[in-house]
């Protein structure tokens, strides 16, 4: 009995010793804040991924302020962390603090957003390709309607924002060369449910009560959820009378898909930390220098992907 306990204890001890010797031990994470559900999910997943790998994650919430992020990074450097993850709130003004990290030999990985600094100041950046997400959505629609005539209405994100510009251009690229698919109306829904619903109502009025509309493309799921309600209230069936494709893959759209009211969504994964930790481990263990941009997968979910199961998985992430 005693021997067994001793054996177990020594295995445990050697395991902790082993693991702490191989992977990065302490990593600082400077997060922007919690301005959206997606970002809350990103924080939750970063913690989970760190725990899975036995990493001690030091978390700093910047509350949307760059000066807080710079202060957090300086404190990480002072604490002598092994690496730093940074989700930068703005693109400019990072040169000085990134140089300080470099001089202390601490690799920095950017999450989700880019900076304007020279790219030798950070190890790599992990992010999604907004343009590619639009392409995936467009290609899904092309595959779905085939050669049928299809009039698409588009709910854009906030006018001038980079997701709105890139997701629009990506979708147009996705449907390019298929003249049967036309975008007949395109308006901004400001990424919100309420505006998505209001704008969709006007689309329905303007396009013969919705009879001329074959598909809706929304730049985020929230607008699609609002638009789905508008379609229902107009007496049409979202998901069959009007196809609904959107981007982000937040939990609520999976409920709509399970109910047959939405058709497809392209995931903007909140798991940016997983690839970042993998790249860091490879860099620290074997000295493998990762590429300067690691693109996360833009996964397409449809009604066939057991939406209720995905909903249950995503629900707890803090979206």
């Amino acid at each position: 009995m005693f021997a067994k306990t001793l054996l177990g204890a020594s295995i445990l001890a050697s395991m902790t010793f082993f693991s702490s010797a191989v992977v990065a031990q302490t990593i600082g994470f400077s997060q922007i804040g919690s301005e959206s559900g997606w970002r809350a999910a990103e924080t939750t997943l970063t913690r989970q991924e760190a725990e899975k790998r036995g990493i001690d994650l030091k978390f700093a919430d910047a509350q949307q302020k760059q000066e807080n992020q710079i202060r957090a990074i300086r404190s990480f450097i002072a604490q002598g962390v092994d690496a730093i993850l940074l989700a930068p709130v703005v693109a400019t003004g990072w040169d000085a603090v990134l140089k300080e990290a470099q001089e202390s030999d601490i690799p920095v990985v950017l999450l989700d957003r880019q900076v304007d600094s020279s790219d030798d100041l950070y190890l790599t950046a992990v992010g999604s390709d907004l343009h590619h997400e639009g392409v995936v959505a467009g290609e899904w629609l092309v595959g779905e309607v085939g050669d049928k005539e299809c009039n698409v209405v588009e709910l854009q994100g906030t006018t001038g924002s980079s997701p709105a510009i890139k997701r629009k251009a990506g979708f147009e690229e996705g449907i390019a060369g298929h003249d049967n698919i036309k975008i007949v109306r395109s308006q901004t829904g400001d990424f919100t449910r309420a505006k998505g619903k209001e704008v969709m109502e006007s689309f329905l009025k303007a396009e013969n009560g919705g009879k001329n509309i074959c598909a809706l493309y929304a730049h985020n799921d929230d607008m699609a959820v609002g638009a789905i309600q508008a379609i229902k209230e107009a007496g049409l069936k979202p998901g069959s009378d009007i196809l609904v494709v959107s981007i982000d893959a937040v939990p609520d759209i999976f409920q709509a898909m399970a109910a047959g009211e939405a058709n497809a969504t392209v995931e903007l994964t909140p798991n940016m930390a997983g690839p970042a930790f993998d790249a860091l481990a490879a860099f620290m263990d074997g000295g493998t220098v990762p590429p300067k941009f690691i693109q996360t997968e833009s996964k397409l979910y449809t009604q066939k992907d057991d939406p209720m199961k995905v909903y249950e998985e995503k629900k707890g992430l803090g979206y």
Binding site: E35, R185, T188, E198
Partner: protein
């Protein structure tokens, strides 16, 4: 009879403006005035305007009274978010519909009480006093929803946002009744005159025996109540409380509605009906831009130009010039 004439003369500029805006939209989008009756309610873009205009119309009712006292209430957008969040969280926590509504409306009254006490008792300038809740309120709403969009499935609550009553969408019935109720309350009693008196000269009205302090607190509470109703409607409409976006910048639309309604920001005489027409003018412009099919980059510029034209046409200087012009023609 004389009163009716005076009333018509008062709201004539607003009605004329609304008619011009609607005609312009009808010109750009010919199917605009089509109305049909289906599923027990009227359908059509004009109904959409009345329906979508509900939050701003409700806010404009409270805002008109507040502005008539010489004050302003910047917190209404945030109060909408708070009350929507409270309604959504109460209904998902299993409280019944009456309890939920009482809590949400009570929260609106409490917010109004807070503003009213800061303005009337503590003596802080209204724009500063209500700025506090404007900033803090959205944070409170986010605390209630824990930063997420809090969705619910209760059909009773959703009915307030997307149901039909008497052949009209419920929000339309709500704001029309609230407008009628408050108008009767202030015009069939001396209340309206007392509010105007406080707005013109608070000190003089106090000396004349008006309980200005109580009146001010009440007016801010009415504004809070209107904001609560608007917040409940907005949350019920999308079956979820969106603390980040519900009522965002709507305080500005409400103030604009009051101004388009020809009411002075300095306080004094006011017309609720004109403010409500102002709210509908704003929503007509919004809906018109949506059905017209312009690229979204033009939305704000078009809206700004139309508002500018409306305000310039209504301005006293232009009226003065008009009078001069007619004199000049008559004099020779």
């Amino acid at each position: 009879m004389n009163g009716t004439m005076r009333f018509l003369r008062r709201v004539a500029p607003q009605i004329a403006t609304l008619a011009v805006v609607l005609l312009l939209i009808g010109f750009v989008f010919p199917g605009f005035f089509d109305l049909s009756f289906a599923n027990g309610r009227l359908y059509g873009s004009p109904i959409d305007i009345l329906n979508r205009g509900a939050p701003v119309a409700l806010l404009a009712i409270g805002m008109t009274l507040v502005i008539a006292t010489g004050g302003i209430d910047l917190s209404v957008g945030a109060v909408m978010a708070i009350c929507g969040a409270i309604a959504a969280s109460a209904i998902t926590a299993g409280y019944g519909l009456p309890a939920t509504l009482l809590m949400a409306l009570g929260a609106g009254l409490a917010c109004g009480l807070w503003n009213g006490v800061l303005v009337a008792v503590v003596g802080i300038q209204p724009i500063v006093a209500t700025l506090i809740l404007m900033v803090a309120g959205r944070g409170i709403a986010q605390l209630v929803t824990e930063g997420t969009i809090l969705t619910f499935t209760n059909d009773g609550l959703a009915f307030l946002g997307s149901g039909n009553l008497l052949g009209l969408p419920t929000p339309v019935v709500i704001w029309l009744s609230m407008g009628a109720l408050v108008t009767l309350l202030v015009r069939r009693t001396a209340l309206g005159m007392l509010i105007e008196a406080v707005g013109v000269n608070r000190r003089a009205s106090m000396l004349a025996g008006v309980n200005a302090r109580l009146l001010l607190v009440t007016v801010y509470m009415v504004s809070g109540l209107c904001a609560a109703m608007a917040g409940i409607i907005v949350a019920a409409d999308i079956r979820g409380a969106d603390a980040n976006n519900a009522g965002l910048f709507l305080e500005l639309d409400a103030i604009l509605a009051v101004v388009i309604g020809g009411n002075s920001l300095l306080g004094g005489g006011f017309s609720l009906v004109a403010s409500l027409i102002g709210a509908i003018i704003i929503q007509s412009v919004n809906t018109g831009i949506l059905v017209a099919g312009f690229p979204p980059e033009f939305n704000l510029v078009i809206k700004a130009v139309i508002v500018l034209v409306i305000l310039v046409v209504q301005s006293p200087a232009i009226h003065g010039a008009g009078v001069l012009f007619s004199f000049a023609r008559r004099s020779p």
